[in-house]
Every structure is written in structure tokens, then in C-alpha cells.
Symmetry: C2
Amino acid sequence: MNIVEISKVLANQTRVNILRWLKNPEANFPPHQEIDHFDDGVCVGFIQDKTGLSQSTISTYLNSMQNANLVIPSRHGKWTYYRRNEEVIQAYLQELQKEL
Amino acid sequence: MNIVEISKVLANQTRVNILRWLKNPEANFPPHQEIDHFDDGVCVGFIQDKTGLSQSTISTYLNSMQNANLVIPSRHGKWTYYRRNEEVIQAYLQELQKEL
DNA sequence: TTTACATATCTAAAAATATAGATATGTAGA
DNA sequence: TCTACATATCTATATTTTTAGATATGTAAA
């Protein structure tokens, strides 16, 4: 868990939005076709649609968020689902609380 | 209080260090000459010395931190002192807690 | 085993950030 | 009012980030 690396992720409104949306996928995304839950998160395509940015940009964003351990990917067939990594997010908040 | 703007400040190790040092000036900086306390913070020169970066870089950093309302400047004679803006820092932490 | 689709990676251009040297400004003291 | 000093701003360059189009990869279905 690296404060500077995670702060870099949060230094962009779209990435902050993605993290917020992933808190409550039911409210922010349409239902998936193959699976009827969001236990493994949300597929890249839905996130892309919601942001309006290009597919490659969103893939890059999600990759940086994954590198910072803020999200966890799961492959399901053709789709990659991303969900929040609550442990790391909480650890970051606690570390900030302590350090800042 | 803007999450993205403040996160940009925190996306650099030196700036995070400055905020941490300012939490406890007595432990991190030599005593000032004209004043015998740190109630208004620490002068730019001391911060510069501690980081080893150039004067203009530190001035730029402090300016960005001030724009984000993370620090408060006070002019005392030739010196500008910077101290933490605890209200905004706490507001940021609380907002993150809620939003993130 | 080809095709279609979802996502990742590569490439490249534009914008932002980091950083320092030079210069300007403001203040205190001679 | 000179001079020295602390800090801010300007200018310029290097690096990083943002972003998208093109291409590659992996998977499912025909």
C-alpha cells in the first residue's frame, strides 16, 4: 500500500468516479447478461459506457488502479470484471489518517 | 475542498513529507531566529533545506499546497511561514472516508 | 477453425507536472 | 536610499500523464 501511488490514482476525477460507482454497482450499472449479480464487480464495457471515454483509456485506468491494488480483476468468459479491493482502500484511509 | 486537487498534491512524496513534517515542527526543523515558536508554521528556507530541492521548486510546491488550502501562509518580516490547515485536512479525510 | 466480440497492449500526440536557473519583489537594516 | 536577504515568479527543459487509434490476444459461439 503506497500513499503516493494511490493518491495518483485519486488525482483524476474519472478514476475517483469509477471507485465510487463500484461501491454500488446495482445502482450505477445495468445488469450483466451472463451473471445476475455483481459479486465480482463490473465488466470493462459498462464502465467505459458510463464514462464516455475510449476503451483503451478505461483499460489503462483500470490497469493503474489494479497496480495500486485498489481493484481486483476477475475473468469470466470474454469479460473482465473489476471490483473494489476494500482492504487496501481501508488501509489507505487509515494510513492517511495516521500520516497526514 | 476538492478531492482531486488535494489528491494531486499528495501524489508527490516530497509534498507528503512537507505535510508530515509540519505536523511536528519542533521535531523536524531548527528553531527560528526571530520567533521562538512554530505557531505560524515553518519558514520556506527550512523546508527547502530539509528537502534538498531548489528554492523555486519548494516555492512552487507550497503554492500548489496553498491553492488546495492544505497550508496557510503568514508573512513575518522577510520570512513566509507555512502551517497546516487542519480543518481542510480533516475535511479531506472525512470526505474521502465518505466518498471512497 | 473461422468469426465476432471483449479487453489489453502498443504507438503516438497533446497536456500537465517537475524542476531549476534567472529575475523580480518585498522587507529590514545600514 | 542602498544593500542584503527571503521568497515569488518567469522561462525553459525533461519527464510523466492523458488520451485515443491501431493492433494484438483471448474466449465463445457458429
